[in-house]
Symmetry: C3
Subunit: 149 residues, 3 copies
């Protein structure tokens, strides 16, 4: 296989794998599957939302915190938009919106609407999240900055 | 073309085709296009939402049921999240969230927010839906199970 | 590289590039980044929403109009669904839903929910938007027609 061809194929595969990785977050969170959530991150990876920074143990515990358990009891959906992805060799940055739709009476409303910036890296077992930052789009300039190129 | 290369290309094409198939559902439903909705399923395919199971005739009739006609009259959007896709030879499973946003006064609210599990198969004319299950994320454990790995 | 192989790779790359182009719109709009918004369109491209038609200057000014500035101040998210894409040589049509989720009190609600039809073309610097049409899904038949095959 020529080098040029290999590179083109690899780039497409990288994009597909990163999109797939991100697409696993919402279903894992809503299913309350701690292992599936944890499996998305590299061992030393972090998840910062608002002003909280979680390491691997914290990420694994996410679906067991009272707020999340209450979301699942009422009915919730963690929905991520199709990502914008920039790959640079063995690292990548992806940007998505996320919404948490929460059941309220007979309807669902946007409980959280956030900007997300995912820093990813290629590991021996595939692409993993090195750092994810999530901030509420509530007028905060720091949230908007996560969406910048 | 080498077998390894052919396999890599085919896998990427399969993913793209399945993502495209699923991306056609929302526009077809909101356009009220019965043929376009029906064309997504294999002839013997089914669509189960809540406790209703539709066969090909039922799927084709979906956009003509009174609830759907009323949705279109008021203004609705059937929005699907980017799918998580697992391909195994000639079958595949895709998982998505779906939202029906419905016009209410001057705003749109989440009228249905659901978990979806799509079982697909490769047919002579391309990937088609064999079985789609949709359950409201209203706290129901059966809905959450559709999202599990 | 064989011609058949080149064609298959090119098609996958075209799809990925178009999906990426569309995925850039929401973050660019919410970040208030006029250059990033403008960069998505071909120089002669247009953006029609409701009954307004914007040319390149108008598109660049989008994030500075009072309504948009007020959205950003309150907290907003322009979220696009994963696109349905049909490519025909050097032109393509993509269809997506879009939602503007806007902060209202402690929640976010759907301020605009629209049908979008993107006409794209391959330029010397990659795929660009030639014409985007956006209409509110408020029961208007013209909006539903944007979603048709």
């Amino acid at each position: 296989m020529s080098e040029a061809l290999e590179r083109r194929l690899q780039t497409l595969e990288d994009r597909a794998e990163i999109a797939e990785l991100i697409a696993r977050y919402g279903p894992a969170a809503d299913a309350g599957d701690a292992d599936a959530v944890a499996a998305l991150w590299a061992p030393e990876g972090t998840y910062q939302f608002d002003d909280t920074v979680l390491d691997a143990d914290g990420i694994r515990a996410l679906v067991t915190i009272p707020t999340h358990v209450e979301y699942m009891r009422r009915g919730c959906a963690h929905i991520l938009s199709a990502p914008r992805i920039e790959i640079d060799g063995d690292t990548a940055v992806a940007v998505t919106h996320s919404i948490v739709m929460l059941r309220e009476g007979e309807r669902w409303v946007g409980e959280r609407v956030s900007a997300n910036r995912w820093e990813l890296r290629r590991t021996a077992v595939g692409w993993r999240v090195q750092r994810r930052r999530n901030r509420l789009l509530d007028g905060d300039a720091a949230a908007r900055e996560l969406l910048a190129p």
